[in-house]
Symmetry: C2
Subunit: 327 residues, 2 copies
């Protein structure tokens, strides 16, 4: 397998934690190449480095930066995939610039109208639900959502081993007549597809409360709604966890009790921790592109590299191309 190109300069904890995570993946036997400023990366150990002199800041304008900073680590990472020097790219840096780099350098899979960000939503009782689009396209057309559904089915199968993914259309009522005009039009398109041929199932509309349950394996929505819902869940979980930690620390008795619960709480916490999910995937570009959380640590980056390598081995891009070709 060609190496995974890791943007060593992207993320709040770059380059140290990013490089550390990449090295752990290498120790697992996954080929990795770092992309960035050699003098800041420091000792890359056994890893190859593709030199890039520029760094796109976390808050920089995505489109303009990518066009202007041709020797940035993000652009060079995307070019490495395009040029056959790498099999995938990963960045914990500027999300918009990661998307723009991938889109402009790798291009889209033939037939794909718009790439979408697919983000796993953890479900304490089972397999994560793949939410897409989680933020790439704020205004969408029904045809794009149809392709998101097709790509989501492939991703749920390849990444989580769901044999026959259940596709839900995110709406505000279960009946096909409920929703905004985009959802009503999309519902017709999804109902008309041959899901048997795709090895998946369209279960109709789902609601926000179904995202973190086991109702659907894929939740299809526009990038505005998806991003709001995802961040609402992240913020809600954080608020609740903080409130719980406050309770756990509210008295000596509470502290003792909380300590006794910790061994049982740890697996739940790990399941909900974004560090362990490996990050989001940009589906629809002509290459594997992972978008990791800006706060990614070495653990998160290690997981992201592992996930990317699995998707490369599974032939994700070819399966996506095949899926969007179906009608």
């Amino acid at each position: 397998m060609l190496p995974i190109a890791v943007d060593a300069m992207g993320g709040d904890l770059a380059p140290s934690e990013i490089v550390a995570g990449a090295r752990r993946a290498h120790d697992d036997g996954i080929p990795v190449v770092l992309v960035g400023r050699p003098e800041e990366i420091g000792d890359p150990g056994p890893l190859e480095v593709i030199a890039a002199s520029e760094v796109i800041a976390m808050d920089a304008d995505p489109g303009g930066s990518v066009r202007r900073m041709k020797d940035s680590s993000l652009v060079r990472a995307a070019e490495a995939v395009r040029d056959g020097r790498a099999s995938a790219m990963i960045s914990a840096g500027n999300t918009g610039a990661t998307m723009a780099s991938a889109l402009l350098r790798m291009g889209r899979i033939k037939g794909v109208s718009r790439p979408a960000i697919a983000t796993p939503i953890p479900d304490p009782s089972g397999t994560p639900c793949v939410l897409l689009d989680a933020g790439a396209n704020a205004d969408c057309q029904p045809e794009w959502l149809r392709q998101f559904a097709q790509m989501g089915a492939v991703y749920s199968r390849e990444r989580y081993g769901v044999a026959r993914p259940r596709i839900g259309l995110l709406s505000i009522g279960e009946e096909s007549t409920k929703g905004n005009s985009l959802v009503k039009e999309t519902h017709k398109l999804l109902a008309a597809l041959d899901w048997d041929a795709a090895g998946a199932e369209f279960i109709g509309n789902i609601e926000g409360r179904d995202l973190m349950s086991s109702v659907a394996d894929v939740a299809v929505t526009d990038g505005f709604t998806g991003n709001v819902a995802l961040k609402a869940l992240e913020g809600g979980m954080r608020s609740l966890v903080n409130a719980l930690l406050g309770v756990f620390d509210s008295s000596d008795e509470a502290r003792t009790a909380a300590e006794a619960l910790m061994p049982a709480l740890a697996p739940l916490y790990a399941q909900l921790d974004p560090e362990n999910t490996g990050g989001a995937m940009l589906l629809g570009v002509d290459g594997v592109c992972m978008i990791s959380h800006g706060s990614s640590s070495a653990v998160a980056m290690h997981n992201a590299v592992r996930t990317a390598s699995e998707m490369v081995r599974a032939g994700l891009v070819a399966h996506l191309a095949e899926a969007v070709g179906r009608t």
Copy 2:
């Protein structure tokens, strides 16, 4: 004060829990009138009853039911407000039919384009954030969202005593250029308003993660996004609480520890419990209209009646009319 009209037939636990809650409110000194089938209500105690022979089912088509079932408890409750027999209406029944009854019988406040559902989102660290629209209007125009912002500011002040409510526009990035086309247009309208005159402040875009924090007092959005975000939060909280309860019951040691934590956990649970928030308010109709959760118990209905009576005493409708008249 004129009595609060309570739809005795609406809700999963109607009429028994609804009537019980209404009687508790009466015992607090709040005048209440029940609306529904006298033979099903049973002994109303000291409460007056407005007889209504029909009941709109929870899953009935809202518009058609309201037009057809003129002697339904929902329609009669709305008429009681219109005719000056009641000061407010409350139902835990069919949400769409509650909205349609209020809209068709009470009419809109002069100048209001569309009524919106305002739902409080609990914040473990402080005052709830008022989210609107939480589901009345799936497709919205920027001008409607401007009015939602104006009405939300009034509601935050009257219901939660926030002296100078901070109004946030729900989007997918803090910059004014981020969002879908509806949000970008709305941002311009909100930025151009004289918020000082309204005794409030426009803080710009907020994100999904800010809903359950203390960033804003009012979150403005379209009814599709608002409903998805609200239900995502409700579902996420339920999933996490269920997972925690599983951990608490996972061993003898865990059970003992959880028991010791319960006194400290109870207030947090109570704060997050929808039973205690009194439900949602339909803002923009010419009368106070509360929409309670379908699963409302006597406790929830008691709280809803109390909230409705407070809003009547505060002159909510007059304040809303004044607010939407400002430009």
